[in-house]
């Protein structure tokens, strides 16, 4: 038979302590709900508006388009940009760039020096590290791998991280770059084996020809910032490099960065992102909805303005001569048929 006194005895000893502990946890739990949580620690929200939010970088990895942007948004499309789904991301930090080190392993970097990793081709992501305890809290702006193992992540105030083991470990690499003034590092690209190029401020770029062991500055005859860079090995064994940025400035080199030629773009609109086309020409996007087609000799551009005039950040090629653009208005698809010869 049940006796009321049992209630009291229940609250003695181990059982009682467990009850009290549970109560405290519940109280903490409810208190937790009201506590402000940093965006770094909040999982990204799924929302219909995500594909129209600010998106900053896009890659095409074996047919899957993956774009990153504000509020921890990572979107992917398996139908060439017709429809987009949101990946599971553990943070709401502003994500600036994405790169893959192998088929399924990808990386994203952004504000607060967050570094995210995916092992399933971009469907779900985990937070590897963040810079909330760093002295310098500025964002990481770009990341690039030139092989399964070798990659760099760069950011403001000469932030430079290097991995030689496919992203298992990231080392501070500032000692390997000749940038005492700590100019921002805006974009990074890889040419032939062992060649790296980093776009910076004050008309500067940094080049490594020894697999990233040392980066040396190259001063162009320009004084402004370069927000983007493209590189690829040429058929003659010399890298083709395209450097562009603020004020519609565009420099090209056909000899691995020894000599630079300024290309007249006919615009003062800032240029932000680019991609190579199959024939060696390049598509460059920028503010005001500007798109430039740079010919394969890297000497001339053709201009196009997209209707809404919103600033663009990056571009990726998709099938059927279409390009997918990302920027302030989210993702949009564009036929590039008219650009092609």
């Amino acid at each position: 038979m049940y006796k009321p006194v049992d209630l009291l005895t229940q609250f003695s000893g181990l059982q009682g302590m467990l009850w009290v502990a549970l109560g405290v946890l519940v109280l903490l739990g409810t208190a937790e709900a009201r506590t402000y949580r940093d965006p770094i620690d909040l999982p990204a929200q799924f929302s219909a508006a995500a594909s129209q939010s600010l998106l900053l970088d896009i890659v095409n990895r074996s047919g899957r388009l993956i774009a990153v942007g504000e509020r921890g948004h990572i979107l992917f499309s398996d139908d060439q940009g017709l429809s987009w789904r949101q990946a599971e991301v553990p943070t709401r930090s502003h994500l600036n760039a994405i790169a893959f080190s192998d088929e399924n392993t990808g990386w994203a970097v952004g504000e607060d020096q967050v570094l995210l990793q995916t092992r399933d081709g971009g469907l779900s992501w985990s937070l590897v590290s963040d810079g909330r305890d760093a002295d310098q809290k500025g964002p990481l702006l770009d990341i690039h791998f030139n092989s399964q193992s070798e990659g760099f992540a760069i950011g403001v105030f000469n932030k430079l991280l290097h991995s030689r083991d496919g992203g298992q470990n990231w080392l501070s690499w500032e000692a390997h770059i000749d940038n005492l003034d700590e100019w921002h590092l805006f974009a990074i690209a890889a040419g032939q084996e062992g060649h790296w190029y980093i776009a910076s401020e004050m008309g500067l770029l940094f080049r490594s020809v020894d697999g990233g062991e040392s980066f040396a500055p190259i001063q162009t005859d320009h004084g402004g910032s370069f927000h983007g860079i493209l590189a690829r090995p040429g058929e003659d064994g010399l890298d083709r490099v395209v450097l562009f940025g603020v004020g519609g400035v565009l420099y090209t080199s056909v000899d691995g960065g020894e000599q630079w030629k300024r290309v007249n773009t006919g615009t003062e609109t800032g240029l932000a992102g680019a991609t190579w086309l199959a024939d060696g020409s390049a598509l460059i996007v920028g503010a005001d909805g500007l798109i430039l087609l740079l010919n394969s000799e890297l000497t001339q551009v053709k201009q196009h303005l997209i209707e809404n005039g919103l600033p663009l950040s990056a571009v990726s090629l998709t099938e059927n001569n279409r390009a997918t653009l990302v920027g302030l208005g989210g993702v949009q698809s564009l036929s590039i048929q008219e650009f092609l010869p």
Binding site: R34, L141, H222, G247, D288
Partner: protein, 815 residues
């Protein structure tokens, strides 16, 4: 001639007719004085009277906006649309400049704040290697009719980021916007908004052509269009008066019986307006219709009086005796009916919206005045002028005429028919409940709900909202913080998160907030690098980013204890408003703490949401109060619950069916339509009270239900059906009003007047037939031979010989 029944008049009646000359004289003087004052009544178009003044949103808005209310300017947008070309065309831009110059010269325009493609303040920004570069969208020195000039203006327009705001999304229209100042800053004279709107119309007609369309929106324009509509209300009043005149004459065939009640009813209206002016009130947006309602109620009672006087005169009474007897017979029922009306209207006071309170006040005063003008003054005037022989003959003829309509209606008192009637009523109730499920709260149409959907103003509004990404439905949300703590990362990050939650809320078109500003400024400050369009973590950088380039001005008088989010909505449907308020409330519940708290809100859409909340709550309150008051009054008068049921059930059925009608016609419950419920019940109860009291008096004489009801129909019923029809026809003219809410009210009031009348003539006797028969059977009514209605219909002479006494306490004396 039949023997006349002799009444013992109360002391009140005796006194009134003893001093009738004095009362008449006094009334004439009062009418002259109040008529003079009535001429000074002004329309009160203050938009703030339409807002629930003590609602949380309004109080919060006032608290947070305290610094900014002083400007008080009103915003106007003028869209100039090219039908054939684009806004970059030379010809278009030239015309745009002329229009913009002309508007800037109008009295009242805040010239410095006027913006168009041509304003020097319309700047574009570009980021160049040297930093910012900037200039006016149209550079006067380079403006020419050349492709280069066109191309340059196009690029500048894109760089200025004004596509959607000042240039339409398809580049075929552009906007000139400006503030209209409430007073001339130099002369300090208040601006005449109507004159200003006329000036705008002049500019419009001057430049509008086949190639160029001009669209104008803004509160000043809206109110001016409303006032234009109000001017027609006088015409509607006149139309209603004329219709009443014609029908009254056709009814009475007597000029005296036509003009006197009409005149007395007008006296009530004149007194009402005069007293309004004496009390310092103007006629509010909704109250402007009340004089008509008062007139309608007055006519309704006036018809009962002249009906009575004609009948008494037909029996051979003298003028004064006929008037005296009529007063004696009607004053209790009339007083009850009018008090029910007045108190019913007064219940609208519980709704905390200025315009409805005004309406309640104006209507209650008006009804109180009808007691004097038509219950007291009208019989007195009739005691002097009397009725013509033609009128008496007509009344006599009508009374003796065997009308198939009356005899048909009388069948409703028959228990079998009554039971069938109740079955029909049950079906109607079921149908009404089913159909009124879709009843919505708030405005359901786009644009200015006060005006018709196809009015010029709303078409202009549609053009602008369709072609630009601007909205006229705005909400400001406040984030309160402790002093000097409005710029922490946490506060701005939460503001940003709420902004994103809102951007994901259906119906939200755009969100602007200090978080958006901070991001844009960081982007611009970093040479247009989109990757830096994020909230800076460093709070010094954040503070700088929020204040740069003068985009943000201090919202709070420099105390840094609040931030604001401004959102634009696609429309102001209740579903849209609820989605937004729910989002904000939920966000606040999850995130409010000692550092930051989120509150709604300011802006017209926030006030609309507040109004809807008040109305949703008040909707049932009003019904409960009105019916309680009416039930109590009927109970006091008739001392019978059966009477209350007989009178109230037809009214309740009408209220229910009216809601079903609103749901079906897509008329929402809003400030304009909520009062209709109270007004409809108030006016409908008159019919019920007059018919029930007459029926009751015949029944007390021992007549069978059917006979009693037939006689009721021939006397009171005739007056009720006449007034019901007359009022319905008069109100039905409102349906053609250019003002949407007047048209809505017209539809609903016509419906309620007619249905109340039909209910009083059919359902009331059916209920009485069932309820009172049982009562008389159980209570043992005065034994009369024709108790069960199987005796042949009484001859009129017999009825006349057995005069009904007044209901109530007058002692009956043998004649």
């Amino acid at each position: 001639m039949t023997r006349l029944y002799h009444y013992e008049f109360s002391r009140l009646t005796q006194a009134i007719f003893h001093y009738r000359g004095l009362i008449l004289l006094l009334s004439v003087f009062i009418t002259l004085f109040l008529g003079y004052r009535a001429a000074f009544v002004e329309p009160d178009t203050r938009l703030e009277r339409l807002i629930p003044a003590t609602h949380e949103y309004v109080l919060t808005g006032r608290e947070f906006m305290r610094e900014d209310r002083s400007t008080g300017g009103s915003f106007i947008r003028v869209a100039v649309a090219s039908k054939t070309g684009s806004v970059f065309d030379y010809q278009y831009l030239n015309t745009l400049q002329q229009i913009s110059d002309e508007i800037s010269l109008l009295d009242g325009v805040d010239t410095a704040g006027l913006k168009s493609l041509w304003s020097p303040s319309m700047l574009w920004f570009a980021i160049t290697p040297e930093g910012y570069s900037s200039g006016p969208v149209i550079d006067n020195s380079q403006f020419a009719d050349t492709p280069e000039s066109r191309a340059q203006i196009r690029v500048n327009t894109l760089r200025a980021g004004i596509v959607g705001s000042y240039v339409s999304n398809d580049f075929t229209a552009s906007i000139i916007d400006f503030q209209v100042l409430p007073a001339n800053p130099r002369t300090r004279q208040a601006l005449d908004y109507n004159a200003f709107a006329d000036e705008l119309e002049r500019v419009r007609s001057k430049y509008q052509s086949d190639d160029l369309q001009i669209h104008i929106i803004g509160d000043v324009k809206k109110v001016a269009d409303l006032v234009d509509g109000f001017e027609q209300i006088a015409l509607f009043f006149l139309a209603a008066a004329l219709i009443t005149l014609v029908l009254l004459f056709k009814y009475s065939r007597c000029l005296k019986s036509t003009l006197v009640p009409l005149g007395c009813s007008l006296v009530a209206v004149v007194w009402q307006l005069g007293i309004l002016n004496l009390l310092g009130y103007g006629l509010g947006v909704f109250s402007v219709l009340v004089p008509f309602l008062v007139f309608a109620i007055a006519v309704s009672h006036g018809v009962q009086v002249i009906n009575g006087v004609a009948h008494e005169a037909a029996k051979g009474r003298s003028r004064i005796a006929a008037a005296k007897v009529t007063f004696h017979l009607l004053h209790r029922a009339g007083l009850l009916a009018l008090l029910s009306d007045g108190i019913g209207f007064a219940t609208l006071f519980v709704i905390d919206i200025g315009a409805i309170k005004d309406l309640a006040m104006v209507a209650s005063v008006g009804v109180a005045l009808v007691i004097i003008s038509n219950l007291l003054l009208l019989p007195i005037v009739m005691s002097y002028v009397g009725v013509t022989q033609g009128c008496i003959d007509h009344a006599q003829y009508k009374l003796e005429e065997r009308s198939s309509l009356w005899e048909g209606l009388a069948l409703f008192a028959d228990p079998n028919i009554a039971r069938r009637t109740l079955v029909v009523v049950a079906l109607l109730i079921a149908g009404g409940v089913y159909l009124s499920q879709d009843l919505k709260i708030g405005d359901l149409d786009k644009g200015a709900p006060e005006l018709r959907a196809d009015s010029r103003y709303n078409l202009d509004n549609n053009f602008i909202t369709d072609n630009f990404s601007v909205s006229t439905d705005l909400i400001t949300i406040f984030a309160g913080t402790p002093d000097e703590a409005c710029e922490s990362y946490k506060v701005v990050d939460l503001v940003d998160r709420l902004g994103w939650a809102l951007q994901n809320t259906p119906g939200v078109q755009s969100v602007s907030s200090p978080a958006v500003t901070a991001k844009i400024n960081r982007y611009l400050g970093n040479e247009g690098n989109l990757r830096l369009m994020a909230l800076p973590r460093d709070e010094r950088v954040l503070t700088r980013a929020m204040s740069k380039i003068g985009i943000v001005t201090t919202d709070d008088g420099g105390q840094c204890n609040q931030q604001r989010l401004h959102i634009e909505l696609a429309d102001h449907k209740q579903s849209t408003l609820l989605a937004v308020t729910d989002t904000v409330h939920q966000f606040a519940a999850e995130h409010d703490d000692a550092d930051v708290w989120f509150r709604l809100g300011d802006g017209n859409a926030a006030y609309e949401a507040a109004t809807n909340e008040v109305i949703e709550k008040a909707q049932n309150q009003i019904l409960i109060y009105v019916y309680s008051v009416v039930a109590l009054m009927c109970l006091l008068m008739f001392r019978s619950f059966r009477a209350v049921i007989c009178i109230l059930v037809p009214l309740a059925l009408t209220s229910l069916l009216c809601q079903a009608l609103m749901a079906q016609l897509g008329i929402g419950i809003k400030v304009a339509t909520l009062p209709v419920i109270a007004l409809g019940v108030g006016i409908g109860v008159d019919y019920g009270i007059y018919i029930y009291s007459r029926l009751d008096s015949y029944l007390k004489l021992g007549h069978s239900m059917r006979i009693a009801y037939l006689e009721t129909l021939k006397t009171t019923g005739k007056a009720v059906s006449f007034t019901g029809m007359t009022l319905a026809v008069g109100v039905a003219t409102w349906i053609f009003s250019p003002i949407k809410f007047q048209a809505d009210m017209g539809v609903l009031l016509t419906f309620m007047f007619l249905l109340n009348m039909i209910g009083a003539l059919t359902l009331l006797p059916a209920l009485a037939g069932l309820l009172l028969r049982q009562a008389s059977q159980t209570a043992g009514a005065p034994s009369s031979a024709d108790q069960d209605g199987d005796k042949p219909v009484l001859a009129d002479a017999q009825i006349a010989a057995t005069e009904p006494p007044a209901t109530g306490h007058t002692k009956t004396l043998a004649g």
